[in-house]
């Protein structure tokens, strides 16, 4: 048990992912929800690298490069959406964003 194996990394990744998921469900501030999404993406990255490490494969790390690229694009667009919404509604509370529903 004192030998670091893939399972340790996978468990860490699962814990981080679930903390991020709970943050998305609990918090109401859009910016913090955004941070939690980033946390979940990072947890997925740990899983990919861990499996690549287990199988002596480079593909896991290649996938993480793509994930990081997509996360960067997502950050730019998501934060721009948050900015535009906060300008229009003067709020970053996700409960105020109900124009489409009402």
């Amino acid at each position: 048990m004192t030998d670091v194996g893939t399972d340790h990394f996978l468990l860490l990744s699962a814990v981080l992912f679930i903390i991020g998921m709970m943050g998305v469900l609990i918090r109401r501030n859009m910016i913090i929800i955004f941070m939690c999404v980033e946390l979940m993406l990072t947890a997925a990255n740990i899983t990919l690298v861990a499996f690549g490490w287990e199988n002596n494969s480079m593909s896991g790390q290649s996938f993480v490069v793509f994930t990081i690229a997509v996360a960067a694009a997502e950050a730019a667009v998501g934060l721009a959406i948050i900015l535009a919404l906060s300008r229009r509604l003067h709020s970053v509370d996700i409960d105020d964003m109900r124009v489409l529903r009402d």
């Binding site: 469900l25 918090r27 910016i31 990255n45 793509f66 667009v77 970053v92």
Partner: protein, 239 residues
């Protein structure tokens, strides 16, 4: 004493604590700082997994770019809106925690009871050292096996940048320009003559005590020009 186990435990513990801090702290700035610490320790995990290049990319892209962008947005949004705690409904919160626990249990069982192993590939530490290191091996993988996805990723980034600029552009640019014109009327060289009486722009700060009392400008010069519209852009639009 297996030092790699100690290092892993330390990194993992700080990661999890900081992730909890992201979710739990009421101030978004504190959340951002916790997120940064968490990302740096995830970079340490990547080093343990032999992914040095990704560790550096993690620090540069996540803590360097995304987090700074996040903090900029924190500064740009309405500061009154930031301190949350119209938090989620209690039922919603309980359900979220319960769901999280159940999911964690399921995933842990799945991980610990895992019997399927992947097919071992040829990127063993010896082969990676033969190529020249982790960065070289990753580069070979990206530019041969994953060349097309790599190009598509660059396209995604371009679209993301353009989308961000379009989305974050101020909606009512025209109004701002008009207001700037009104403010520039307060300038001593402004052409107050072309404007009708009453809407004369005043400088927001009175020049003297007398001006403050009477409300009339005391020492503002008015330059006479033949055609005010040629002299300044203020007169434009008032045909």
């Amino acid at each position: 004493m297996p030092w790699d186990f100690v290092a892993f435990m330390l990194l993992a513990a700080i990661c999890v604590i900081c992730a909890g801090g992201v979710v739990a702290s009421a101030n978004p700035v504190h959340s951002g700082i916790f997120l940064g610490i968490c990302f740096i320790h995830v970079a340490g995990i990547f080093v343990m997994l032999g992914a040095e290049f990704l560790a550096v990319v993690q620090v540069i892209v996540y803590t360097g770019a995304i987090l700074v962008l996040l903090l900029f947005v924190l500064m740009l949004v309405d500061p009154d809106a930031l301190p949350e705690f119209t938090s989620a409904h209690p039922v919603q919160r309980t359900v979220a925690v319960l769901l999280g626990m159940v999911l964690l249990l399921e995933v842990s069982v799945a991980i610990l009871g895992r019997t399927v192993k992947g097919v071992a590939s040829n990127a063993t530490p010896e082969n990676i050292a033969l190529v020249g290191g982790n960065t070289q091996a990753l580069g070979r993988s990206l530019y041969t096996e994953y060349l097309l996805p790599f190009e598509i990723a660059s396209l995604v980034l371009t679209v993301g940048v353009i989308g961000a600029i379009v989305l974050a552009m101020p909606e009512r640019l025209g109004e701002r320009v008009r207001r700037r014109g009104t403010i520039s009327l307060g300038h001593p060289r402004g052409t107050d003559l072309v404007l009708p009486e009453g809407v004369r722009g005043e400088s927001p700060i009175p020049d003297s005590a007398a001006e403050l009392e009477t409300g009339l400008p005391s020492r503002r010069e008015v330059i006479m020009v033949g055609n005010a519209r040629d002299y300044t852009t203020v007169g434009r639009g008032r045909q």
